[in-house]
């Protein structure tokens, strides 16, 4: 009753696989998407061409891609940082909300400071909120060995409830008192509006520059520092880490806090660079935290690649919004993202294992 197909662990992983497999996964996802389109009576070439035009081609489209890429780069880094240590942080979504809450608090309170300082303080606010929120998951995992997938997911729902409470069900500091009929967030002070630079006509949000900076910092942290070494050993073999005297508990908590800080930074950029207020409905609808997992998976947890992949997924997402209408399938972009995650994970297996066909009646060695 054995399957004739067997997965066998590759002894050596050829370097080119690291590039070819993710690209192949992407192509596979697009082909699967095309099949879906074709079955539903759409012309896949036509649809893909429109996505490309609205998502990436031209200054306006590319500006839109960068706008979307900004929060996604942060949530992608959030997922990537945790994945690196074998922690599956699904909680980027909730940590992103908390970051937005923290940053908007700073942005509303600080009226008088110059913009530069306000941006830095908002970033700090977002990071503190996001990291504390994620650290809870880390502590639960490190101390009580609870499954971080489940706890971080539950924390997302909690964060959503908290967000709705702040804007819809209370007279909180974040809620605009002048709009009792239509509850919405209080607008940040004018100085808290983050810069967007125009380069050759393309709008480059400062948030995206911060994302590049954060991606590089994470890369250095993991590749070059003592801490990165410790994380690597812990990911490879927890027993070896214990043997070498690496502090397992605190390392897990720190990695989770760092992961949450990055999502929180994304929340800050979202508030400061784009929305200008705590938009409870808007950020829940966007679901950046979940899409960030797709970004990190396709980037194979590499922090620098994550930022680049965010542009791609960002453009795709933006095109999805822009093209919404009677002759564009509304669920298409979500479906494509799902397919990409699926093929990226399948690709990950192909990098680690090779597929072997075995003859049916083989000797059984347990």
């Amino acid at each position: 009753m054995r399957s004739p197909v067997r997965l066998e662990r590759r002894l050596e992983q050829p370097k080119w696989l690291n590039w070819v497999v993710p690209l192949a996964s992407l192509v596979a996802a697009l082909i699967l998407g095309a099949i879906v389109l074709w079955i539903t009576g759409k012309n896949p070439f036509d649809v893909y061409q429109r996505i490309f035009e609205r998502g990436f081609a031209g200054k306006r489209a590319f500006s839109g891609a960068l706008e979307m890429a900004t929060p996604l780069a942060f949530t992608g880094l959030c997922a990537a940082v945790a994945f690196r240590m074998g922690l599956v942080n699904i909680g980027g979504e909730g940590q992103f909300y908390m970051g937005a809450v923290g940053a908007s608090y700073v942005g509303i309170s600080l009226g008088g400071s110059p913009t530069g300082i306000t941006i830095i303080l908002m970033c700090l606010g977002g990071m503190v909120f996001g990291s504390v929120y994620a650290a809870i998951v880390g502590v639960l995992r490190a101390r009580f060995n609870t499954n971080e997938i489940i706890t971080s997911l539950m924390m997302n729902y909690l964060a959503a409830i908290f967000l709705n409470y702040l804007i819809f069900n209370s007279k909180s500091f974040w809620r605009d008192p002048d709009s009792p009929q239509f509850p919405k967030g209080k607008t940040l002070s004018a100085r808290a509006d983050w810069n967007t630079y125009s380069i050759f006509g393309v709008n480059l949000p400062i948030g995206f520059l911060i994302a590049i900076l954060a991606g590089s910092a994470v890369w250095v942290l993991y590749k070059r520092t003592r801490f990165g070494f410790e994380v690597g050993v812990l990911a490879d073999s927890p027993k070896a880490a214990r043997y070498a005297g690496i502090r397992t508990t605190s390392t897990i908590v720190i990695v989770m806090a760092l992961s949450g800080a990055l999502a929180g930074l994304g929340g800050a950029a979202d508030v400061g660079n784009f929305r200008g207020l705590l938009d409870a409905k808007g950020i829940q609808m966007a679901g950046y935290g979940y899409t960030g997992i797709v970004v990190a998976a396709l980037a194979r947890r590499n922090p620098l690649v994550t930022v680049v992949v965010a542009i791609f997924i960002g453009g795709l997402t933006k095109a999805g919004y822009a093209l919404q209408g009677p002759n564009f399938p509304s669920g298409l972009v979500g479906t494509l993202q799902g397919l990409i995650l699926f093929t990226a994970v399948a690709g990950e297996i192909l990098i680690k294992y090779r597929i072997r066909m075995t003859p049916r009646r083989s000797e059984v060695v347990a």
Partner: protein, 503 residues
């Protein structure tokens, strides 16, 4: 007792890469007897029983059940022939109930079958054989002893006539062991056959009718229990004193001083049971102290406790008079304790990491500046050690898991020795290595001792201990039960104490 032959295995050969686990083994079991299979760890007991239950296929040899030749392709075939096994490691689903686990895997059952009927049948079996367990309890709620009863019930439920129990007492308390023995006697009184695997001499004497002794994959002999003694069994199990070459020591140990001092150490194992009970020992500079014993008697925990990987519940560890903090590996490393653990690839090394990273596993903190790793220093250290310890590797960046077993061990030894330790804990340092590599590792241990390191050598291989150690301690059930100077060591006596018999 009838003299009908229930199981006959002749000329069984089973090879694994690098080892012959069973080398022309013969086994003959009569109906209605408890037949013990005695042998040290690695003697091939589990392999033989896995062949009998269809889990492995023999490379050569013949299996007969009640006089008929059989060929099993799976445990199901064996079960159909009435053979069931309780494995060393349980195979239960922890969130299911006892009754569900008992029926799980039955060919014509589903979990939606009549739960009541199953529970009743389980209850009936449990009463008849004195296997007290609640059919509706979930596995995770049960103690290890109770889980074992579920495994036995599972086999009985399927109507097995021949039951194999692989080291069943390893996880039991003495009282549970006595109860298990009663159960086994009830089973054989009904004409069933029990194959009882163990390395504990007194248990074998207490419960079996006949004993077959395995050593190094071969049958040493079969004896009637009432015609033998623990002493005879011990010498059968560990072998007659073969000629062994004592390692030549350049520098004798400095017995006046003590470098490692362990006092009244107590500690728990992973399951929270007592693993070490008031263990005291000392090692002098330049001395090799051997810890003999059958695996699972606290040796692993002892090594882990001394190297700071496992907290102690009471007692103390000092190196040159300075105490080592409980459960703090960094403290042990700082005090000069080197550790070559049993599980090289996943404890002593990070298998997916490069050779150079593994060399830096314990000293990476000193290979950094402002918390940034100094890659060049790490590379230089690696180049130096690869050459000095003659390690065969394609390069410094090759993952350790791609190296051969001997070279993996060399990487580990190179790192531990190059840290100029005061104390070295080596656990089964030559297990699984080929002859050449074994030679190298032993030479290195002797060199370390000659240079003044106090060596604690933990090994199941009595020959290894006899040829290397200056002094031998025997561990049994978490205690040191004997101590002898290697020069006066009597192999048979040590074998006896390893099996829990103190004279």
């Amino acid at each position: 007792m009838t003299s009908e032959i229930a199981v006959k295995m002749t000329g069984i050969v089973k090879k694994f890469p690098g080892v012959v686990a069973n080398d022309h083994v013969n086994l003959e079991i009569m109906a209605g007897e408890v037949h013990a299979l005695l042998g040290e760890n690695g003697a091939g007991k589990s392999t033989l029983s896995n062949i009998l239950t269809g889990l492995y296929r023999q490379d050569a040899g013949r299996v007969e059940i009640s006089g008929k030749k059989v060929e099993f392709n799976s445990p199901r075939d064996a079960l159909n022939a009435g053979i069931g096994m309780v494995h060393q490691h349980f195979r239960l689903v922890s969130t299911f109930t006892v009754a569900e686990n008992v029926v799980l895997g039955e060919p014509d059952s589903s979990l939606f079958m009549d739960q009541k009927a199953v529970a009743a049948r389980v209850q009936e079996l449990s009463d008849r054989y004195g296997l007290a367990v609640d059919p509706s309890a979930r596995i995770w709620q049960l103690s290890v002893g109770e889980q074992q009863r579920v495994e036995i019930l599972k086999v009985l439920y399927r109507g097995a006539r021949i039951l194999i129990l692989d080291e069943p007492t390893a996880v039991l308390t003495p009282i549970e062991t006595t109860e298990l023995f009663k159960t086994l006697r009830v089973m054989v009184s009904e004409g069933r056959v029990v194959i009882f695997i163990s390395h504990k001499l007194d248990e074998v004497m207490a419960v079996s009718d006949r004993v077959t002794v395995l050593r190094g994959g071969r049958t040493v002999g079969t004896v009637n229990t009432h015609e033998t003694s623990t002493t005879d069994l011990a010498s059968l199990m560990v072998g007659r004193s073969v000629e062994f070459n004592r390692a030549v020591r350049q520098v004798p140990a400095d017995r006046e001083r003590i470098v490692l001092d362990v006092r009244d150490l107590c500690a728990h194992d992973d399951r929270g049971r007592v693993a070490l009970e008031s263990v005291s020992l000392s090692v002098s500079p330049g001395e090799i102290v051997g810890i003999a014993g059958v695996a699972g008697n606290g040796q692993r925990e002892l090594a882990e406790v001394i190297s700071g990987m496992r907290p102690i519940t009471s007692g103390s560890i000092t190196v040159d008079g300075e105490s080592v903090q409980s459960g703090r590996a960094r403290s042990a490393i700082a005090k000069g304790i080197a550790h070559v653990p049993e599980d090289r690839l996943h404890t002593g090394l990070a298998a997916g990491h490069s050779v150079e990273d593994n060399f830096a596993l314990k000293n990476y903190r000193s290979m950094s500046r402002f918390r940034i790793l100094q890659r060049q220093k790490i590379r230089d250290q690696s180049t130096h050690l690869i050459e000095r310890y003659d390690i065969k590797t394609p390069g410094s960046e090759t993952p350790v898991r791609l190296l051969s077993g001997g070279n993996v061990q060399k990487v580990l030894l190179a790192r531990e020795f190059s840290a100029s330790p005061k104390v070295l804990i080596a656990a089964s340092p030559t297990r699984g290595l080929d002859v050449g590599a074994i030679e190298t590792v032993r030479e290195r241990l002797v060199q370390a001792a000659d240079s003044g390191v106090g060596v604690l050598l933990i090994s199941e291989d009595l020959d290894e201990i006899l040829s290397l150690a200056d002094r031998i301690l025997v561990m049994y059930e978490g205690r040191i039960v004997a101590e002898v100077e290697a020069a006066q060591a009597d192999r048979a006596r040590i074998g006896l104490t390893m099996g829990g018999i103190t004279t």
